[in-house]
């Protein structure tokens, strides 16, 4: 597949020397659903706005479908944006809002009406065509904004945190709907969010950003299972963070001493040397509490004492003290736990088993979280 967006060494510096985007390069493939993920101030929105043409890069080039658009104003780019606050025109009806771009472009009325109606029915709002934006709910405004952007059949649809103003239930429904819409239309979606769950649910590829640059780019499961840095591990999902010293390192396995425990990590860990101080991250739900006398198999084990059990609805978080002062979280799916009726109680001694493949090891210098 060809690249629909090519961003080459783009930087954006605001007056006062605030560097919002710092030498960022990125390709987006045609038809891809790409999400920029990061906390506020990481440069994700600025990058999106540079693709849309609302901000001009200080350096670097941006190509859309092979054409250099770096110096083109927004109204000459074949992209459309769904704004965070929807930005619907309050003095126009829904129909006029959606048809606005077509009408100004000089399309005959006889062609605008069917195009508007088709798009409105795609987002399921045909019955509200003559209402004013002021009379719609947040979710409906969201759909109108979507229809207005889609009616021009853009090559790329840019979405700037479009779901952040919706309540949790509606947001989840819209996530699924957007994903289906993407599959149905086949156009490229570039989505910006600070919500990691949203990014994981919808995207083909997630681009995690920090301080104006890309920290990691990959499919949701790559990011989740193999975070490239402690920052990514921390930003996406939950992680246990343990500090230790490398005691053994060979071509594809390292062994880290954390208090009395030895933790193994397997794939591609040849970069460490013995005696190095490291940070280990482990996902709480990838760890299993062994039944009494159960054989850990290929897994290595940690022992500890249960401190507390926190009820989270579909799962339970078991806090295990693996050495004095260090708590290790284990998430237990309740459906599984109840079947096996093996939820431990506070004060129990437990054995935790985990596969060395789920353990990530980082140099302390890579740790930007603390």
């Amino acid at each position: 597949m060809t690249n629909i967006i090519e961003i080459q060494n783009v930087s954006k510096t605001y007056p006062g020397a605030i560097r919002a985007v710092d030498d960022l390069s990125l390709n987006v493939k045609e038809g891809e659903f790409v999400t920029f993920l990061g906390p506020s101030g990481c440069g994700k929105t600025t990058t999106l706005r540079m693709i849309a043409g609302f901000e001009m890069p200080t350096a670097g080039r941006i190509y859309l479908a092979g054409e250099d658009v770096t110096d083109l104003p927004p109204y000459e780019r074949k992209v459309n944006t769904v704004f965070q606050d929807y930005a619907l025109f309050p003095h126009m009806s829904i129909r006029e809002n959606v048809g606005y771009g077509l009408k100004v472009a000089g399309m005959p009325k006889s062609e605008i009406a069917p195009a508007v109606e088709e798009t409105l029915s795609t987002v399921g709002l045909l019955d509200k065509a003559d209402a004013r934006p002021g009379n719609l709910s947040g979710g409906q405004k969201q759909r109108v904004a979507l229809a207005r952007a889609l009616v021009r059949k853009p090559k790329v649809l840019l979405l700037d945190e479009p779901l952040s103003a919706l309540d949790a239930k509606l947001r989840e429904a819209m996530q699924v709907e957007l994903k289906h819409l993407h599959q149905k239309l086949g156009i490229t979606f570039v989505f910006v969010t600070h919500d990691q769950k949203e990014a994981l649910v919808m995207s083909d590829r997630v681009i995690v950003m920090e301080r104006g640059n890309i920290v990691q780019s990959g499919t949701p499961d790559e990011l989740y299972d193999h975070p490239a840095s402690p920052y990514v591990a921390d930003f996406i999902g939950n992680s246990n963070r343990l500090y230790g010293k490398v005691v053994a390192a060979d071509t594809d396995q390292v062994e880290v001493q954390v208090g009395p425990h030895k933790i193994r990590s397997t794939p591609g860990q040849s970069r460490f040397s013995v005696n190095e101080d490291v940070l280990v991250t482990i996902r709480p739900e990838k760890v299993r509490i062994l039944n009494q006398g159960e054989d850990p198999g290929d897994c290595f084990t940690l022992t500890g004492k249960v401190q507390d059990i926190l009820f989270h609805g579909s799962s339970c978080r078991v806090e295990v003290e693996i050495e004095p002062g260090t708590l290790f979280d284990v998430d237990v799916q309740l459906a599984l736990a109840l079947n096996a009726s093996n939820l431990p109680a506070s004060g129990d001694d437990v054995v935790l088993a985990m596969n060395s493949e789920i353990v990530s090891v980082f140099r302390l210098s890579e740790d930007t979280v603390r």
Partner: protein, 289 residues
């Protein structure tokens, strides 16, 4: 005392002050004026009556009708020229000036003259436009004119200039507020949909700022309608405004009943303008949330 009674008493005591003020200093004087407008003039004073003579005079005597018409014409010209100055100025302030401090400073520069005495500001124009004034001196000095001219002062032109200068802040304020309330994303959305800057202005920015324009026009028209100082200072023989006539009826002409009738006519006109503008604004009211 019961809680409800106490609350009622509190409400009454808070409201009664302004209420009494309005009754004594606004409503009663208006009623007095209204009553006078039906009285008859009888030199050197006037006698109580219930006659429409004064109103009939206003309608039939072309002198009054002409002044009313001239006042309306000047009010509309002042509103239009204020708009032509205030809209581009507000637009530049809101959209083109990036620095917040500079924007506030320039906005204040527009508002600050309101703290200067009105008379002083009107008088300034006399020294600018007069035959010995700044403008004439400049034109003679630059060789554009051989001798000073008196065409700038004591006519309707000088009145429009003076009144525009004095009332322009009342046009800038509502337009500035209206423009500032427009979310930037709305203008970006228009450009995003392939619409260039000029059409974006005509289709989005201008309609969304109309409430400010209507409010500004109402202010300037109504203020001009009631003005007699500019007419007095820079208006000259053909510059008499309705307020000038009313003033003279209560003064030199000593015809209080006719003055009262003219005041009532003017009040009705101004109230009509305000209610029209209110209706217009309500019809075009836009929820910018």
């Amino acid at each position: 005392m019961k809680e409800a009674t106490r609350q009622k008493l509190t409400t009454y005591s808070v409201v009664s002050g302004p209420f009494l003020w309005t009754i004594i200093f606004l409503f009663i004087p208006y009623m007095v004026m209204f009553t006078y407008s039906f009285y008859l003039k009888k030199f050197p004073t006037f006698v109580p009556a219930f006659e429409f003579v004064n109103y009939i005079t206003i309608v039939t005597d072309p002198q009054y009708f002409q002044v009313l018409f001239r006042t309306a014409k000047i009010a509309i010209i002042v509103a239009l020229s204020s708009l032509l100055i205030a809209y581009p100025l507000s637009y530049v302030l809101v959209f083109k000036i990036q620095s917040k401090q500079l924007r506030t400073a320039l906005y204040m520069a527009v508002i600050v003259p309101l703290w200067v005495s009105y008379l002083l500001r009107a008088y300034t124009w006399k020294t600018i436009l007069g035959s010995e004034g700044v403008l004439n001196s400049f034109l003679v000095w630059s060789g554009f004119l051989d001798a000073p001219t008196d065409i700038f002062l004591y006519n309707q032109f000088s009145m429009v200039v003076t009144l525009t200068y004095i009332f322009v802040p009342f046009m800038v304020m509502p337009i500035y507020m209206a423009l500032e309330k427009i979310p930037r994303s709305m203008i970006e959305a228009s450009k995003d949909l392939g619409v260039g800057p000029i059409r974006t202005f005509l289709n989005v920015t201008l309609p969304l700022s109309m409430p400010g324009v209507i409010a500004g026009a109402t202010f300037t028209i109504c203020l001009t309608f009631g003005d007699f100082v500019a007419a007095f200072l820079v208006g000259g023989p053909n510059g008499a405004m309705i307020a000038t006539i009313i003033q003279s009826q209560f003064g030199a002409a000593l015809n209080w009943p006719l003055g009262a009738a003219l005041s009532i006519v003017m009040l009705v006109i101004v109230l009509t303008i305000i209610s029209l503008s209110d209706r217009l604004e309500r019809a075009g009211r836009i929820d910018l949330d």
